[in-house]
């Protein structure tokens, strides 16, 4: 059994996989180590250092699929990829199709990863820094986000498209990325400072957004399951509107569902309009 470590880097895994494939080493003979607990049965055998005799030809599309699936954090993260690669390299292209048992898992991971990138684009919330602090830190916007997969690096370009010359950073419990208006600075280990700025940013302006959120909600159509399906609870704590969700649900349940109007509006004085006004 060959036990390998690729530091969760796709490029490293790819080089290792190429060597293994060249020497015709079966997926059952390899195990990639994940986390602190090694595979107990893996008696380490060294990886051959020269490329092997077998020259595998695989479609370019496969490499792209593997790279996407590699961003998935979970059990058998790297082993599965080698199994797919092995089967396709030996002529079984169904391994990369969603109809196959293994391919189905590959595509499920790709889907999870792309969903998580989409979650980043949707649920990151930037806090604008006050002018003096922005000048001092050379940063306009900061955000803290907790993605479930390794998508920060590949999915953050989106924000440079959206925000023009604004300077921003996104910190996560693992990595972080900063944009100075021109170039990205990606850090696999998020600097402590970045995390501190992102987590402690003061945000009085968020009240405007919360007001909008409260009023665009229609209590007469309460459907909390649909909300949870599309916006999983794990994101709520970093959303300014997150704390309103249980509160609004509660209010709607307490009978405020005969019509769609928010309580705050119903409580204000109304104004009928005569035909000649305003």
């Amino acid at each position: 059994m060959i036990a390998l470590e690729c530091d969760d880097l796709f490029a490293t895994w790819r080089d290792q996989a190429r060597t293994l494939l060249g020497h015709g080493i079966d997926p059952a003979q390899v195990s990639w180590v994940q986390g602190p607990i090694d595979d107990l049965l893996a008696v380490p055998t060294a990886l051959p250092d020269a490329p092997g005799p077998f020259r595998a030809k695989v479609p370019a599309a496969l490499l792209s699929l593997l790279e996407q699936a590699a961003r998935y954090r979970g059990e058998q993260r790297w082993n599965l990829l080698y199994e797919v690669l092995w089967r396709v390299a030996h002529g079984d292209r169904t391994a990369m199709l969603a109809g196959d048992r293994l391919g189905s898992e590959l595509h499920r991971r790709i889907k999870q990863v792309s969903r998580e990138a989409h979650h980043l684009h949707a649920f990151v919330r930037f806090v604008p820094l006050p002018d003096a602090l922005a000048e001092q830190l050379q940063l306009d916007l900061v955000a803290y986000h907790e993605p479930a997969h390794d998508i920060l690096h590949s999915a953050s370009g989106h924000f440079a498209d959206r925000l023009g010359r604004q300077r921003w950073l996104i910190a996560t419990p693992q990595d972080g990325i900063r944009f100075d208006g021109q170039a990205f600075d990606y850090q696999r280990n998020c600097p402590q400072n970045w995390r501190k700025w992102a987590r402690n940013a003061d945000d009085p302006g968020a009240e405007l957004w919360r007001t909008y959120y409260r009023h665009t909600f229609n209590p007469a159509r309460l459907n909390p399951d649909a909300l949870r399906l599309h916006m999983p609870g794990r994101f709520w704590r970093h959303l300014p509107e997150g704390m309103l969700i249980p509160q609004l649900e509660g209010l709607a349940r307490q009978g405020k569902q005969r019509d769609g109007q928010a309580v705050e509006v119903a409580g204000q004085r109304g104004k009928q309009i005569t035909r000649s006004a305003p």
Partner: protein, 406 residues
């Protein structure tokens, strides 16, 4: 009045419009440029409210002062609601602030009718112009179009916005006369035609200035009058064909405070709205015709989805061999969606498709089973009569949220 107070009133006044889509816009980016905003065709739902609806745009009215007296509308002139009016600059400020925070992908601006249709339309255009020209805003803009406004104004709006929409609200002339006396079916259709002509004028000319690149949409209210689903769907089909509409939105009538006697006090079941969306999707994406889905007057079944209903009514088409059937027919198998069809076609180029493959593709086999043949499966001869199948496949009624309607 404070900005935050206006925002509360004018967001509350705008929530009855169902559309919040930000998809279909062309590729635009602000990378390295002055200004803000990008679009790439994909819509983003930045949040969801507890009604389960997507929040993609800042959806507000410029003002909820209104001269019209549409009975189903909370902002009608006889309604006793608090009123407010934003200045164009205030809407711009809110849009840019929320956009920077990544709370929204753009603006959906509508308005009550003040002074005249033209004046109101000019105000909406003013906001879009400020955003686009003064602030170089490249995010999504959806403007509501006032039907009676001058066609030149509508054209101007179409050059600034990604999407324009003219709401039909009520699908028949008689209902409009009764419930929205200031609105006219023919001016609504005229406005749609102006937008459609603007789109056609630039179609196939990549260098021409863009005109509503994300298309036009409309909304009909379901359950404020007695119109049935058959009329609604045929109406939608004629709009898709006649004016190249991107979307028809169906909005279950939402009871309003101080409801006038002319409209119902209770909402129709939300499930009816859901079935209409499903049927509408079959019209747009699957090549069904309205007449196939509802052959005669009446409403869609609530207990089964319209695709299953069609399959049960057309048993002679089935069972279909998934190894041989045309993709367009595969897409008519209940429980197999467009994505699965693509994947099945890719797989059957490599080898014969087996029953187990459909499980791997996560097809809904409970629904699909009676309608398919694979290399290792066929349904038992004359297995079940449609009536029995329907009884087995129908969805349990009265889910929790429905129960709340009593």
């Amino acid at each position: 009045m404070q900005l935050i107070a206006k925002l509360g009133i004018l967001a509350d006044a705008a929530k009855y419009d169902a559309s919040c889509a930000s998809s279909g816009a062309p590729k635009r980016s602000s990378r390295g440029s002055e200004g803000l905003g990008a679009t790439d065709g994909m819509g983003i739902c930045h949040s969801y409210t507890p009604d389960g609806r997507c929040v993609s745009l800042l959806k507000v009215l410029l003002t909820n002062f209104c001269l019209y007296d549409c009975q189903y509308c909370v902002n009608r002139r006889s309604s006793n609601v608090p009123r407010a009016r934003f200045t164009p600059e205030e809407v711009v400020r809110l849009t840019l602030d929320f956009y920077r925070r990544n709370c929204i992908s753009g603006l959906f601006l509508s308005s009550g009718i003040i002074r005249s249709a033209d004046y109101t339309m000019e105000q909406l255009i003013r906001v879009a112009r400020l955003l686009r020209e003064t602030h170089n805003f490249r995010g999504y803009i959806h403007l509501k179009t006032i039907p009676d406004a001058d066609p030149l104004l509508i054209e101007e709006a179409g050059r600034l916005a990604d999407r324009l929409s003219v709401n039909i609200e009520l699908p028949t002339d008689a209902s409009l006369k009764r419930l929205a006396p200031e609105k006219h079916a023919h001016t609504i259709r005229q406005a749609m035609a102006v937008i459609h002509q603007g789109q056609q004028a630039v179609a196939g000319e990549p260098k021409a200035p863009r005109f509503t690149p994300a298309g036009q949409s409309t909304q009909v209210i379901v359950g404020a009058d007695a119109t049935d689903d058959s009329t609604l769907l045929r109406n939608a089909e004629s709009l898709y064909r006649g004016y190249g509409l991107k979307r028809v939105y169906y909005s279950a009538f939402s009871p309003i405070p101080d409801s006038p006697g002319s409209v119902p006090l209770a909402a129709p079941p939300l499930l009816r709205e859901h079935r209409l969306y499903q049927a509408d999707f079959l019209l747009r994406g699957y090549g069904y015709q309205a007449g196939e889905l509802l052959g005669e007057a009446g409403n869609l079944a609530l207990d089964i989805d319209p695709k299953l209903a069609w399959a049960l009514a057309n048993r002679e088409v089935f069972p279909l061999d998934v190894n041989r059937a045309e993709p367009a027919l595969l897409a008519r198998i209940p429980g197999i969606g467009l994505r699965s069809v693509q994947r099945l076609v890719a797989l059957r180029r490599e080898r014969r498709v087996r029953y187990d493959d459909l499980i791997q593709l996560r097809c809904v086999l409970d629904k699909a089973r009676p309608f398919i043949i694979t290399s290792d499966y066929r349904p038992a001869q004359g297995e079940l009569r449609s009536g029995l199948l329907r009884a087995r496949l129908r969805e349990p009624q009265a889910p929790v949220q429905m129960g709340l309607w009593g």
